[in-house]
Symmetry: C2
Subunit: 218 residues, 2 copies
Amino acid sequence: MGVTERRAREKEELHDRILKAASALFAEDGYASVSLRKIAERIEYAPSTIYLYFKDKDEIVTSICRQNFLLLTEALDSILVRDLPPLEMLRACLRSYIQFGLDYPDHYVVTLCLPEPAPRSDRDVHDNLSVLDVGLSAFNRLAGGLLGCMQAGVIRKADVELTAQTTWMMIHGITSLLVTKSSFPFLDRNRLIEHYLDRVLLSLGAAIVPQDPDEKIL
Amino acid sequence: MGVTERRAREKEELHDRILKAASALFAEDGYASVSLRKIAERIEYAPSTIYLYFKDKDEIVTSICRQNFLLLTEALDSILVRDLPPLEMLRACLRSYIQFGLDYPDHYVVTLCLPEPAPRSDRDVHDNLSVLDVGLSAFNRLAGGLLGCMQAGVIRKADVELTAQTTWMMIHGITSLLVTKSSFPFLDRNRLIEHYLDRVLLSLGAAIVPQDPDEKIL
DNA sequence: TTGATTTTCTGAACAGTGTTCAGTAGGCTG
DNA sequence: CAGCCTACTGAACACTGTTCAGAAAATCAA
C-alpha cells in the first residue's frame, strides 16, 4: 500500500510549510504582522485550510517560539561543554540568555513578556505551561550551573529551586526591558549588562566576581 | 461671554468621560476587551466622536496608564515620609513596586511589558518616552532611596544612574513574570518576593539584609 | 471504467477590530 | 432670520481570527 504513509507525509509537509511561512513572516516583519491570510497567501492555500493543521493562530506562534527556544538551549549547551570554572560558566550562561533575547526579540517577547491567554479549556492551561516549559528546560541548564557553583563553594548554598527561579526573574528583568523598551535612554548596553551580571552573581553570594573583558555582547 | 469657557469645560468633560469609561472597561474585563466601540457605547456617543478627543486608541490607553502610575508614586511617597532606616526604606519601596504590579496587572503590562509601538512620527517617539517617564518618575524616588543608602554607608557606593537602572530592571523582572506568567509553578509568592528582595539588596552590597516579617504582600 | 466514499480544500460569511471622512444637526453670531 | 462654525454621526474601508456548508480531488470497491 504505502498510500496512507504518503498521505501522512504530505500532511506533515504542509504542516511544516505553514510553520515555515509563518516563521519567515515572523522574522521579516515582526510578530504584529503575522496574519493567517498572509501565511495562506505564501503557501498558496486558502486561509481556512490552515485550520485543518492547527487549532488556532496561537498554536502556530507557540510552535514557532518553542522551536526557536531550542537555539537557546543549544547555546547554553555549547557553554557547558567548555568546562569553564563554575562561576565563569554561570556568568557566560546568563550572558547568553540575554543575548538570545536581543537576537530574537519577537520570539522572546511572545513567549515570556506577553500575558498568557485566558485559558478556556484544560488543554489551554496545559499549552501555556508547555511553552514556559521550553524556556524552563533552557533554564534548567542554568539551574545545573547554579548547583555546580554551590557544590564548588563559590556561591552561597541555598534552595536550588528558589535560587533558580529568582535568578531567572533577574535575568528576565534586563532582557525584557532591553528588548521591549529600546527607546528608553539606557546607559551603554555592555556596561549595563556586565554591571548587571556582577550584581546577579553578587546576590548569589559570589565573593569574587569573575572578570572577562573579552566576552562582549554586540 | 463665558460661552467659550463653558464649551471648553464641556469638551474637557467628555474627554474625561471617555477616559473614565475606558478605565472602567480596563478594570472590569482587562486590556484585551477595551475597544473603541465599547467605550463609545458606554458614553453614548458614536465611535468616531472619540477621535475628536484623542488621536488614537493608544493615546487613551497611555493616558490611563500614566494616571494609574501616579498611585505608585503616591505609595512610594507614603513610604518615604515614614522616616525608616535607609535600607528598610529601600526594601519597602521595592516591595511596594512589586505590589503595584500585582494590584494593577493590566496597567503594568501595558506600560512596561508590551513592546512599544513602532514610531511613525517624531511625536510617537516622544510619546513612548513620556510613558516610561512616569514609570521612571516613580523610580526616581527609588533612586533617591538608593542615594540615601549610599550616603548612609549601608550599601556600596556606585554610579547612581547605573545602580538605579539595574535595580529597576531587577525589580521589573519579578514583577513582570508574576503578572504575566501566573500559571507558572512559582514557589510561594511571599517567600519568593522576600528572597528576591534579599538578593537585590545583597547585590547592592548591603552587608546585613533587614528582616521585617510583618510586611507581607497578600 | 464506473460509481461510491472519504479526505482535502475552498469561498463566503460572521463578528469583531482601529480608523477615516463626507455630510448633517444644532447652537452662536452678525 | 441667514450664515457660520463646531460637534457629532453613519457608513464605509481595510483589516483581523474563525467557522462551516459545499465543492473538488483522490482513493477504494465493483
